[in-house]
């Protein structure tokens, strides 16, 4: 069993939305108490719809924003209270790749300067010659040509810019790369090129990735383990095989059934969720999903569910799987029975 590279405990990230001197403070609870671990060398995927807090979670792990509460333990080191000076040496270990390849590169810097900057800041090259060599090596690593170094971001397509973004993250030789929707702005044919590049680099350098995306097929393709988020919390966490073959949480089930399948001969039954994601300012009590859940019970409105283990490396936050509560256990069993019936029929 590989050891944990990253451990997150009770992480909360609240954004204040109003509140003057006299007013009561109101917060958007973007991330509302999240625990998870990422093992060395694995790809941990985080999926969820817009507003579920997945990007905020990525940013707080990298400490691009100060977490409100909770612990972030990287390689045995608690980094949540580090100031920007202390973070500098951590940044060598954790790098981020962003969604928008048009906005994340400085338009006034040449590609050479963009890639040289982290090398200089972290003192990773002695002189100009070594910088030049390293920049060229980085470009080749991501499948670009040497002469691209002297060009500017506007001269490149979206896919190429994303390659540059990845090269910049590689420059400092990180252990963990947090990629926030790295392919969602790209066309499908380019998207697969970038995904393949990321897999190749991972194999070569044994990186650990946190891969954040809304596209379930993409996350399934690249990840080893996946966490599904809804309104600032994880609802299910499992290896990708378990999650896709046997989704347990009603939200995961609905999410998977909503993905359109590129095969017209497959007609599948959809679970269509009613309504919209509630506001994160005033989330529902109890289980946050209960307002849209097709299997909502009384207890769901009152109490937030705990984390239940339902299989090998498979966790779900749902009252349906509470074995100790007789009322609830009955409900879970009823559902199982119905499933069995349906299968027989």
């Amino acid at each position: 069993m590989a050891e944990d590279l990253l451990k997150v405990e009770g992480l909360k990230q609240y954004y204040p939305v109003s509140g003057g001197l006299m007013e009561k403070k109101i917060f958007v609870k973007a991330v509302d108490g999240v625990d998870f671990e990422v093992k060395k060398g694995e790809v941990f995927g985080i999926v969820g719809e817009s507003g579920c807090g997945k990007s905020t979670l990525g940013k707080s792990i990298c400490k691009l924003i100060e977490p409100t509460e909770g612990k972030i333990i990287l390689d045995g080191e608690e980094i949540q209270d580090y100031d920007s000076k202390q973070m500098r040496k951590i940044r060598k270990k954790v790098q981020m790749v962003f969604q928008d390849p048009y906005a994340s590169l400085n338009p006034r810097m040449s590609i050479h300067d963009i890639l040289a900057e982290p090398l200089i800041i972290h003192g990773l090259a002695k002189d100009k010659k070594e910088i030049d060599e390293k920049v060229i090596r980085l470009l080749r690593e991501v499948g670009m040509d040497d002469y691209h170094a002297n060009r500017y971001p506007h001269e490149f397509s979206g896919g190429q810019r994303q390659r540059i973004g990845i090269a910049r993250a590689l420059a400092v030789g990180p252990e963990l790369i947090v990629a926030d929707e790295p392919v969602s702005a790209l066309d499908v044919s380019i998207q697969s090129q970038v995904l393949n590049l990321m897999s190749k680099l991972k194999k070569e350098y044994n990186f650990t990735y946190i891969f954040i995306a809304h596209d379930l097929s993409v996350v399934e393709h690249i990840s080893d383990r996946i966490g599904v988020m809804y309104l600032g919390n994880f609802v299910e966490e499992a290896s990708k095989e378990h999650l896709y073959k046997n989704p347990m949480h009603p939200y995961t089930q609905a999410l998977l059934s909503a993905v359109p399948i590129p095969d017209p001969t497959v007609k599948k039954e959809r679970i269509i969720l009613e309504g919209n994601i509630p506001s994160a300012i005033n989330p529902p009590t109890g289980c946050k999903f209960h307002t849209r859940c097709p299997k909502c019970m009384e207890i769901c409105k009152r109490e937030a569910p705990k984390k239940y283990q339902v299989g090998d490396d498979h966790f779900v936050y749902c009252h349906l799987y509470d074995q100790e509560n007789p009322e609830v256990n009955g409900a879970a069993k009823k559902i199982e029975d119905k499933k069995a019936e349906a299968q027989e029929a």
């Binding site: 066309d187 590129p262 095969d263």
Partner: protein, 325 residues
């Protein structure tokens, strides 16, 4: 064989943009037929000309440097490219309407939702304000929006993205158009909301009998909604046919590449197939087949000579030398 008649026929349409840096041939000879009561999907990546095709049909290119320079657009047999701006306006929103990708920016932010739909009705039909308002409430209810009576007096910012897209659909359908053009209507939405909207569009199509042109880059959405599919690349149609032939008997290497590039749920592969390279710059188009530089099967002939359409039966056509018999 499908015997339904064509409600819309685009014949050899060329739409060029005249920019300071030269002519950009966004759409360069496109033939598309839409059958009555069916859904046609137009698939392609950015820059393939799918949105410009839609805007050309709508007549929404004024104010840009773009122009339909050649070809015909036949709406129920009548060529609408010859009509005056005034006559085009009467068709737009009445016989053909369109919904856009960005539900956030395609509604007027300072006008109440109900008033925006009433305006669309009164533009085309001789209705009193009260009648139009009643029609508005009725169509909004059909889209499954909640508390419609109050919602008509609210502003767009008070709605979520999915709700705004429902309002757009209501506005597009209120005059019972013959054709609805939907340009990436679900791209900006979350998957669970996308499922709701696709469901709604399929339902309304049956109820109102509108023919739909569905423009998207998402092949999953195409497989679930469309009867016919047109695949575009670099301003041309490269393959067309019914949805089963396109997905089951894929003939063009570009369509094949697209289908193989998408990761599929429940299928584990080490490496995804991908199409090497990028879409060519419109200023430096390859001489022969436009896909040849990225095509794994390209031969010397492909680089020299551009193929025409080859018929594969059942209306399935592909623009590739490999389909020549």
């Amino acid at each position: 064989m499908d015997t339904r008649k064509n409600i819309l026929e685009i014949k050899n349409m060329h739409t060029y943009f005249f920019t300071d840096n030269g002519v950009v041939k966004s759409v360069d000879g496109v033939d598309i037929e839409l059958k009555e009561g069916s859904t046609l999907g137009i698939v392609g990546e950015s820059g393939s000309g799918k949105s410009v095709t839609a805007l050309s049909v709508m007549g929404l290119l004024m104010g840009t440097t773009g122009k339909v320079v050649e070809g015909e657009i036949l709406l129920e047999g009548q060529d609408i490219t010859k009509l005056s701006d005034e006559e085009r306006r009467k068709i737009r929103g009445n016989k053909i309407s369109m919904i856009f990708q960005e539900p956030m920016t395609s509604l007027n932010p300072v006008m109440k939702i109900g008033d925006q739909i009433v305006e669309a009705i009164r533009m085309h039909q001789d209705k009193s304000k009260e009648e139009a308002r009643a029609m508005t409430i009725e169509i909004l209810k059909k889209t499954g929006l909640p508390r419609v009576e109050r919602l008509v007096d609210e502003y767009p910012f008070q709605l979520s993205g999915g709700q705004r897209q429902r309002v757009m659909i209501a506005m597009a359908l209120v005059c019972n158009p013959k054709i609805l053009i939907a340009d990436e209507p679900t791209t900006a939405l979350d998957v669970t909301i996308q499922a709701q909207i696709i469901d709604l569009m399929n339902h309304l199509k049956k109820e109102i009998g509108t023919s739909i042109i569905f423009i998207t880059h998402d092949l999953g959405v195409v497989a679930e909604t469309c009867d016919e599919v047109v695949v575009m690349y670099c301003g041309r149609v490269v393959e067309k046919g019914n949805v089963y032939d396109i997905f089951g008997k894929t003939a063009h290497p570009y369509t094949e590449g697209l289908l193989n590039s998408i990761p599929k749920l429940g299928e584990h592969v080490e490496e995804l197939a991908s199409i090497p390279g990028n879409v060519p710059n419109p200023k430096y188009m390859p001489k022969g087949c436009k896909f040849a530089p990225r095509c794994p099967y390209a031969t010397a002939r492909c680089e020299e000579e551009e193929p025409g359409f080859f018929d594969l039966g059942n209306g399935h056509q592909s623009r590739c030398w490999r389909c020549e018999k």
